[in-house]
Symmetry: C2
Subunit: 248 residues, 2 copies
Amino acid sequence: MNLKEILTERSKSAWNDYLPHISIDCVVFGFHEAALKVLLTKMKDSEEWALPGGYMGKNEEMNIAAARILYERTGAHDIYLQQFRVFAEMNRSEAFFEGYPDTLWHKQRFVTIGFYALVDYTKVVPVTDEISDTCEWKNINELPAMIMDHRSITDMALTTLRRQLNYKPIGYSLLPEEFTMPELQKLYEIILGKKLNRGNFYRKMTAYDILDKLDEPRKGGAHKAPNLYKFNQEKYMAALKNGLKEGW
Amino acid sequence: MNLKEILTERSKSAWNDYLPHISIDCVVFGFHEAALKVLLTKMKDSEEWALPGGYMGKNEEMNIAAARILYERTGAHDIYLQQFRVFAEMNRSEAFFEGYPDTLWHKQRFVTIGFYALVDYTKVVPVTDEISDTCEWKNINELPAMIMDHRSITDMALTTLRRQLNYKPIGYSLLPEEFTMPELQKLYEIILGKKLNRGNFYRKMTAYDILDKLDEPRKGGAHKAPNLYKFNQEKYMAALKNGLKEGW
């Protein structure tokens, strides 16, 4: 079946199953090889990329719906998910389905609720489905052309991440359990969009008292083995509750 | 007509005019006599208070709908409005209309988009309508019992205000054009929920270089006339763009 046939088929049950006019789009962030990445899909017969998205069941809680949509794409459970903004502009999505009948579920006006998700890159296996032929990580600095308003949804998610860095467990959710101080600094630099002074970063992070230094440094590699850290979850969550005081 | 009759009557055209399942609720903040206030309404035949709210026209932009809803309640144009969160829990509002027929517009499941508004208290004239017999300012520290989840919507709006104090024009929108430094400090203290040191506050505000001191102090009163300030709009907006650096 081509895209048109699949959508027409799906449209029939969608009217029964989901709340009309409301969709969910997810900006899934992962951190890998010193780069911030976003999970994108490409629909069949389309040259442009899209955020993973879906709809809310008539008797489904919103957060459950968002988690379900992400599970279908990533195979990952217990993902850190936060709604961050509603995108409601008229004709933001309708034009995409020009040429389809007006009764098509997808062609109605959709107010979409943007979520961002923070995942441990190593635990995600991107999944394609019936209507998408690709699902891949893309570097935040090299985003391809995207459908509808998905690029501005992505940009707004990154802005939100930047503003929430001091009171949401962003480092904790994006990094593997054990990491080096330069890796943590790199993550902060990418989210904040600027270079940070190494000595200052080390001092501030140490002053927060939210990291535990491991006894064993990282093994392997030609250089001096770097020290490994992990978040002290209890102290980190307590510190975030009031917001980390320091501006970067 | 009593409330039931009015709602039943309104319900008929609502199905034609508005997007189903989507509502807007507004937390309107004003600052008066050193207190942060919220504008609440009380429906006929109800003992509990409610946030001003409404629906989005099928061909109406979301922000226009929110501004229209507020205008109807406050008579004020050009209000500073920001969406801040979606509240979607199942049965958050449906139970309120128990006893009404299931075809009633108001009884469907509503996903509500929370907006906060910042208004100059002196420019607002609270307006009642057909279904509300009261519309008044209530002190944020003395909120009465509220319907549905309107209390948690209000609390979340205040939390948002606190987090956005450094990168949204919150002081600018809540204060009259001219104000004293103690008045500005009081506003910050209420939003942040803590006392601030007077000397530090003065130093930080001065260091931001976003205020213009007026030549003439405030007239009248028995004490020494206090200095008046106003925001230098250009500098203030430029500073907010990157976020005021200092944590409070």
